[in-house]
Amino acid sequence: MTPDPRAHRTRRRPEGKVLVMGGGIQCALDLADTGFFVYLVDQAFTVGGTMACLDKTFPTNDCSTCMFSPKLVRVAGHPNIEILSNSQLLELEGEPGRFVAHIEKGPRYINLEKCVACGQCAEKCPKKVPDAFNGNLGLRKAAFVTFPQAVPLKYALDAENCLYLTRGRCGLCKKICPTDAVEFDQKPETMTLTVGAAVLSVGFEPALTPRHGEYGFGRYRNVITSLQYERLLSATGPFAGHLKRPSDGSTPRRVAWIQCVLSRDAARNRPFCSSVCCMHAAKQAVLTRSHLPETEAVIYFMDIRAHGKGFDDYVDRARYRHGVQYRRSMISQVYQDPENENLIIETFDHRLNRKTEEEFDLVVLSSGFQPPGSWRDLCTRLHLTVNPYGFATAPFDEPVATNRAGVFVCGGIESPKDIPETVVQAGTAAAEISILLSDARHTAVSQPKITADPTTDGEPRVGVFVCYCGSNIAGVVRIPEVLDRLRQMPEVAHAEDFMFTCSAETLDRLIEVIRKQHLNRIVVAACSPKTHESLFRDALRRAGLNPYLVTMANIRNQCSWVHPREPQQATEKSLSLILAAVRQAGYLEPLTDQRYLVTPAAMVVGGGISGMTAALTVADQGFGVHLVEQDQRLGGFAHSLTETLEGDSPQQLIRRLERRVLIHPNIDVHLNSRLTAHDGQVGAFRGVVEEAGQPEPVDYGAVIVATGGQAYEPDEHGYGKDDRVLTQVELARRIQADPDQVRGLQRVVMIQCIGSRNADFGYCSRVCCSAAMKNSISLKEANPDVQVVVLYRDLRTFGFKELYYLDARRRGVLFFRFIPEEPPRVKTNGTGKIIVDFTDRSSLHDFRVDADMVVLSAGIRPHEASGQLAGLLKLPLTPEGFFMEAHVKLQPMEFSSPGIYLAGLAHSPRFISESIAMAAGAAQQAIKVLCRNEITTSATVAEVDPDRCTACVICVRVCPFEAPFINTDGVSEIPPPKCRGCGICTAECPAQAITLKHSTDNQIEAQIKAIAAGELG
């Protein structure tokens, strides 16, 4: 049991395998894609965590299943990932690089290998039980599969409810199962795995249970948690996406949300904020209003915490566009009308000076989150320390570390956080492990065999697969009718429908059908090829077909979503779209991918904390880095910061990072430098760094954008005219530099949201509320009698920062809320007291303070250099000037241009620890490119016919990616790796010399004819 003491000294090569405990899908993929083998251990019967429960996600209202399913599919099919479901980590012995993990695999009572997920067991099973996945709002059987896209999609028996396992009777499933997969005598098994490191990513769960009795939850049937509501909204939920209330199945006409249930509640020992509930409620209210425009949505809240990128904008839209009603008031109790089970909320109306009763059909409680039930035991077994609320909060400069070396945390169990931050941290954890185990990269994985894609020929036999997409499509389009019509068409050899075509099991089924029916041209009528075509191409590959013989008809985004109220016309339109795709399929040709070598070095633009962290993350894994910093020293924005809210020192951090960066053999530091030219494609870029005016060409395989941010320079409230009006950053410095002056202050007023959340600059700067907490606490520490008045709009001390808000209040800091229409007014003539007038929205009194000092919480702006870089790299910016990531939820660190990644303040305002996490995560995305020898490019590119080209250079001018150039033969040439297949040149070329593969003229003509001819009447 005791680890070999010599193991410390002998530097054996570490193990190239990693254990990921919990949902951890993103982390598993990040590791598996960078050359490590992953055991994905999940206690549940399926992997996926909370996200699988969600219906849609804000701010894009994307369907959660649609975003998530491709990831699940990738995990399921990844050669470097082994899923151990229904398993628990018992113990972890050894040391970083070489752990022995003891795992207990619970009995599933159904043989994973044999089960074909036909579902007959569930159909026949007589025992119905509340379905926990659906928040117990619906029923499932004791033989069940958690949700339709589950991975692994294998049935399981619920031992607590199965009649055979509890009472020895029944056994129907065993009799019926066609593959004899039911095994009642399965026992728990233990196994040991050797791994180099472990990640704990067990997520969180709602803290509210009926035991708490809060707001009648568990007592009144129409009081539910927000996660239950998510299931009510979901197409795969208990009411198939039709919003009904639990008591009587009627459509709710008035829905209320109550925020901060078991959050920000010191009395119930939950003094922290759960960070995500404000946006969650906003999203649910918006969805409710769009599903049921007649239904009222009312949110009761204290502060709106929309501290993420673009969140305020979303809340404004919820309010003003969707008519969601926000009421700033916390309710004590929910009452029920016994006659109709409606719920009554009493609030005190200040205008009328009386209690008002409002009746609702449904009340949704935005419950705070807590670590899952089994987490405490796991911590004890693994000797992990957690904070008083059970979360494994990490140190500020090591955002995924635990007290045990080689064991990392990420996601909700570290602290409550939303999806993009979780994705970021997954990347961070992968990066830490990738550094730790870099000697063992590629040792435990099977290198993907690159085989030439098969060329397929023979007469086209077209198969059409129509997707329900839950109820996204099937809720509008009459799919059975579509199928009937398709089956009558002579050119369709086979047509079939699926609930979620993108689920792993459905893909297996699809492959089977392709083989059986000898299909060689495939049409998938579902969603967007942008997100899903590659999935189906892989499926074709696996079916032995050339991957380019599939095409998609987007009957969701282009049909069911836009015509939700015209089912008949939508059905017709779907048919036209599918027919067009069928006609195109007839002309599809097999194509071959191209390959080229990767330059194993990264270009990091920006030498602040993010840039240095990203550079070290790449360099520590043995790859080269060019670190380009505009300034004459490294460190960036953080140079101005003194101390974090938690008491850590950014200055020390900068010095530590700087020292390591400067001596690192793999890092080439360019100070006083800029990237002035950039060309090439993912894996093989070439650019020019101008260092002190000297241009120097550099080669790199990936780019990390870490240009950082800068402070907003206020012109409000006499800043710059009276030196007693300062910013929070300046005050922090003054507290350090001149403690005596600070001790002498009697009255200080802080004003929040300066230069943030207004018409000029819509974002919340995220950090200013915490800065105000930190400085007001420091002022009170220096002199407990100083009066500090903080004027705010919404206090946004999310997560555990809420504890500092409580601390500041306890020390006597006074907080008053103002509204932007009536901002505080500051009068100063340079001498005497500064007069601050404001109206408190809570008491509606007008106040005046004679202050010694006014402190402005000035926001964060993107760095002025980001515009130039965005132009050079052709990256999009938000209206506020921050870089726009590929996808706000699932790809916060990526751009839609491959090979370029994003970190730190360049993305949006954030805390230092968040920047560090993001920098490491972004670096790890770059490693996915750098760790490969060569890259395969898509074959759907434009090709010039040199015989027809007249070298008119129109294509050179119109291409947004600068791919075409005039070659030595004097004609246009388009290097395949650079071409993104947008087709602009193809359309513009006057000589019709350019063909876009997979969208050839004859294919497009066939589509147009199919639709325009109106064959379908």
């Binding site: 901060c260 920000r264 509640d265 010191a266 009395a267 119930r268 204290m302 009421r327 700033r328 008031s329 916390m330 309710i331 004590s332 109790q333 009493e346 609030t347 005190f348 109306d349 200040h350 205008r351 000076n353 009386r354 209690k355 009697q746 009255r747 009698d785 009066q787 008045v789 206090l795 808000y805 409580l806 209040r809 306890r810 020390r811 006597g812 006074l814 907080f815 809320r817 509204i819 229409e821 009536e822 007038d837 109206t839 929205r841 809570s842 008491s843 509606l844 009194h845 007008d846 106040f847 005046r848 303070v849 004679d850």
Partner: protein
């Protein structure tokens, strides 16, 4: 709920009507915190107490404002408020407060301060009632409803007000009904411990405001 800019005080320009923050320091806050052990400064003005309170409509200073006013040191306003007398000590506010502020205990404490102060109680009948109750208690050691009402009605002004409002008739009717039902005990019981209780009662005035 009152985010509406239209709904705001008039006389905005009248500087003198602006309350000044800070002139009084936080002595009053510290004092009340010290005397009650309540967490007054932790309040974040969520209004859960006021929403919970069954009688907030009858109060001139709402429970959440009580906390704010203490923070601001507005002692006179509070001691002269109806709130300190109207509060039922039903503990709804304390029970639901997320910051363990102890609102009910605080209001109760302010009521005591008001009793010992020279400020005229906003709800004299309630003040007199409590006083009379204690007097009856020290007379007999127990409290007899019949005698309590009698003693109360003898207090200056009480009877006059009751006659004017018609409350006296109601009271007599109810008294008669109770007597008919055998629920009125006319002869009070006297405890042996009365002496000890009186001693306590005298001591009470040793408690300082």
């Amino acid at each position: 709920m009152h985010d509406n800019a239209a709904h705001r005080r008039s006389a905005r320009s009248d500087v003198n009507r602006r309350h000044r923050i800070g002139d009084r320091g936080d002595h009053f806050l510290r004092r009340v915190e010290g005397e009650t052990g309540a967490n007054l400064s932790a309040c974040y003005q969520c209004e859960r107490c006021t929403n919970a309170c069954p009688v907030s409509a009858f109060m001139d200073v709402k429970p959440h404002q009580v906390i704010r006013y203490i923070q601001l040191g507005w002692r006179e306003t509070l001691l002269a408020s109806s709130t300190v007398w109207v509060c039922l000590s039903c503990e709804m506010c304390t029970t639901y407060c997320p910051n363990e502020v102890g609102v009910a205990e605080t209001i109760n404490h302010l009521r005591k301060m008001a009793t010992h102060s020279t400020i005229r109680p906003k709800e004299p009948h309630l003040a007199v009632f409590h006083q009379t109750f204690l007097e009856e208690l020290q007379r007999f050691g127990r409290v007899n409803e019949f005698w309590l009402m009698g003693a109360l009605n003898l207090k200056p002004g009480v009877l006059k007000d009751k006659i004017r409002s018609g409350a006296l008739r109601q009271e007599i009717e109810l008294g008669y009904t109770l007597w008919r039902l055998g629920k009125l005990k006319l002869i009070p019981h006297r405890c042996k411990a009365v002496r000890g209780i009186r001693a306590l009662y005298r001591n009470r005035y040793a408690e300082k405001d």
